[in-house]
Amino acid sequence: MSTAYQIVVCGSIVPDPLQTLEPVSTPMGPALKNEMMLPAVLDPWASHALFEAAHLANSAPGSKVWLISIAPKAKLQQVMMTIAQKVPFELVALDGPAGGFTEAAEVAAILADAIKAIPGLDMKRLLVFGGWESASRGAGATMQMVGELLGITDQFQGVDQITVNTDGSLEILERIEGGKHQVSKCAGPPAVLGWATGSLPEPPNNPQIGMANMRAIMPALQRAKPAKIAAEGVTFVRVTLPKQLRETKIVKDTPAYEIAKEIVAWIANE
């Protein structure tokens, strides 16, 4: 049994992981220093979700992938220049803050409304993908809330694999404690899947896909609706950087045996 899926991927942008981040206080609450200047990438787990969505859509003829992203429009455009070359999708852009100090529930409400507004949305074919956590808030809360707002109670988090069975049911592997996976069988869409790393490598850039995507992405960015998101009801008592610098002792020009002895003694020392 073959199903043409409607796969909606929720994912926003985060600062490039190689950047040094520093919190600052603003009248709106905490934020990142020079946040608008920091180079950004599509959130890594959301990227995996997007790649998995494209892979699934490719294997199920008639399927389509949307990417719904809430981010400052200008930053989102920069990120799309790269991500659009990876896999085919249609962008639904919402112009709003993408920082980690925003409230998951507020983000979820806007995402759910955006999903509901997709023309021709069919709940019997709908799979909502996203990262199981983000590299900003890192709460793993948004996708669950989006699912609830859409009335979807088949939800999976920390997903590394989805397999479509011949009867149309879905076999899903979720990460659980101790390096194991819980295996579940879901009757079929609708379902929410918060992806971990998945099992696919990052697709190479494909300029043809990029050109096709960008034809629709630019208009999508132009008509991006403003999304008002804050963190109502939240009081940040403080936001601090950890005291992370250690006095590193550098051991050089020492025979391997001596180093080994020191390491073994260190391991044994309770």
Partner: protein
């Protein structure tokens, strides 16, 4: 202080796991009226095991349908208990099972959720939580006006509650399940064979292997088989948990030489895990920021790298050994083996 509901699920044997007892200890540290809610196939044994915790009431949702970790039934159970208890603050362990549902439950209850909480405290007489943002790069203490407030406490952050077992009176909470709740069935758990299991959350030592293990060595050749033996021997001799940098686990997707026992589950850092171990030893890894954010909760850190100016040297490790990890780990294994046999 407001009433606190401690929400826990039982294990397959009906017991409460350590994270549940940690959540209980955290709740007790705040003071106030305490109630407990338990979900599982059978909850009486679990309730009895914490009968002396001082809870004013025990609520339970039980039955075969609640044995498995499934969103629809777990969320329904948690919602029913939360409504029966009416507590404005709900503290639960952030296990994989509860991590899957708690934010959704908060949404249903019209409340808010904070997950991956590492500490709870009172600030100006009101509860506050500590959690990390941007993958352990900055720490925030925050309070919320909304109720109910669901707080998911990360395992390993609080000493677990200890106390005498007794007999608890559990008020059963009914949950009406329909077929819609059972569209998903948990069919099992996929795990490596015991001897191949390299992820050990309770290990005292984290051993991290970086991509350098699979690169060309001084002789111009790669030595993946030797690397595999050295790493696995070390894990056997020490019982350490195995972690990896992203670059190493990504190699398998790029068709390069790989360590076959290494998967994305081993990955530590920005897009991997942030484990808690007293000590960590990094090998053949540059210690770049996206990886070392995953070391936030590793207390003592040592690294072996050929690069004296790698990330570990810049205040991220306590000791950096500038040396060939192949040579050092071979000697380490010899010494450990000799120690074991003596």
């Amino acid at each position: 202080m407001e009433t606190i509901l401690v929400l826990a699920h039982t294990e397959t044997d009906g017991s409460l796991a350590k994270p549940a007892l940690e959540a209980l200890a955290a709740a007790k540290s705040l003071g106030g009226l305490l109630v407990v809610g338990l979900v599982g196939e059978n909850v009486q044994d679990a309730a009895n095991s914490i009968a002396a915790c001082g809870a004013a009431k025990f609520f339970g949702v039980c039955g075969a349908d609640f044995a498995q970790a499934r969103y629809a039934t777990d969320a329904a159970a948690a919602e029913a208990i939360a409504q029966a208890a009416g507590a404005p603050v709900i503290i639960a362990p952030h296990t994989s099972r509860w991590g899957r549902v708690l934010a959704g439950v908060a949404q249903r209850l019209g409340g808010r959720a904070d997950t991956h909480v590492t500490a709870v405290s009172l600030v100006n007489g009101a509860p506050a939580v500590t959690r990390w943002y941007y993958r352990q790069r900055m720490e925030a203490v925050l309070q919320r006006a909304q109720r109910p407030w669901v707080i998911a406490l990360d395992p390993g952050c609080v000493a677990p509650w200890r106390g005498e077992a007794g007999t608890a009176s559990v008020e059963k909470v009914a949950v009406n399940l329909t077929d819609a709740h059972k569209r998903t069935t948990v069919t099992g758990v996929r795990a490596p064979k015991a001897e191949e299991q390299t992820i050990r959350p309770d290990a005292k030592l984290l051993f991290v292997a970086g991509a350098g293990w699979t690169k060309k060595q001084a002789d111009g050749q790669v030595h993946v088989a030797e690397a595999e033996k050295l790493i696995l021997d070390f894990l056997k001799l020490t019982g350490a948990s195995l972690g990896s940098s992203k670059s190493l686990v990504d190699l398998s997707g790029e068709g390069q030489a790989v360590l076959p026992f290494m998967t994305h589950l081993n990955q530590i850092g920005q897009t991997g895990s942030t484990p808690r171990h007293p000590k960590g030893l990094s090998t053949c890894c540059h210690g770049e920021e996206p990886h070392t954010v995953g070391w936030r909760f590793i207390n003592e850190r040592r690294a072996i790298s050929l690069d004296p100016s790698c990330g570990w040297a810049r205040g991220k490790a306590d000791v950096l050994y500038v040396a060939d990890a192949f040579q050092v780990m071979a000697k380490v294994n010899e010494l450990l083996a000799a120690k074991k046999s003596s």
